[in-house]
Amino acid sequence: MVKNKHPDPIGSDLPELDHQERATYQWQIWVPDFGEVGQQRLKNASVLVTRCGGLGSVVAYELAAAGVGKLVLAHAGRIKYSDLNRQLLMTHAGLGKSRVESARRRLLEFNPRLQIEAIAENVTERNAEALVSKVDVVIDCAPLFEERLLLNREVVAQQKPMVDCAMYELEAHLTTILPGVSPCLNCLYPEPPKPWRREFPVFGAVSGMVGCLGAMEAIKIIAQFGETLAGKLFTCNLRDMTFRTLSIQRNPHCSLCASSHP
């Protein structure tokens, strides 16, 4: 079991694995506290990934590889040259075409069993509630704080776990939000920092690393094993290979989570 107690996002009515799935996932089913039940839980799970850029491409790819049943992908826009140093689900051949359709196609090449709902929109005030309502777990990979705070508001309201992945230059931050248990983003920063710009320095190897870590957090939440980053902020700087895990506190006066989950 995960040590951070939270309502089980998946439930107990689990689908059987077929012969092909057992063969595909055999090596991860060998992980003792994951096992076949863990795989059934992944098969039964749905995850929202927004957006599918440097972080989200890798999150989605790893969840497709792990055998998550359904991915909801939200990402607007068309592929540009400047996406192609890190957005691993995009291709040169797809330049000028829909990002989210490229992501869907690449993921299905890898795992044709995967159900995908591809939505060519970023998170907005208008769609945030509906996007979060479609899934069991949210993975926030958005480059704008406004999108992150909207997702945060919705996961607190709908009591769903969210993995928050972020990076800048050679540094990364990662935490897991279990509403009512661990700090939400509004506990940590109630408004977007003024100097932040949507375009930022990034290597694909940095965003890809954070994407893998974020995918593993979601796998642990869904399969209910290991220990998540709820109540902790993982930070790293790949420039000097400094890795730290800091303990973070809920804000007892948080305007979002203090009243709904005291």
Binding site: R51, A142, E171, L188, F200, T245
Partner: protein
Amino acid sequence: MIIRIHYTTQLRMALGIDSEDFEAPRDSTLLELLQRLRQQHPEALEKYVLNARDELQPSVLLCVGDRHVGNDLSGPLQEGEEVTILSVISGG
């Protein structure tokens, strides 16, 4: 007493250093330390950490050792402690 300060992300880029050892009077509080740092690096500290009215910028997280201290800057620091100033980030 000497306090080691770690700077991250945009603040690190603005200052051009990862960390520094900072001399502060014994029993300084976190607020007093930040005020002294602001004297040393006025532009970056005001923009990212502590404004001229001594209010924390809403996007900064302060840790003493491995512990996040929230908005309470009143606690005294001890010789040899390390303070990390995290500017939140959102790169995707």
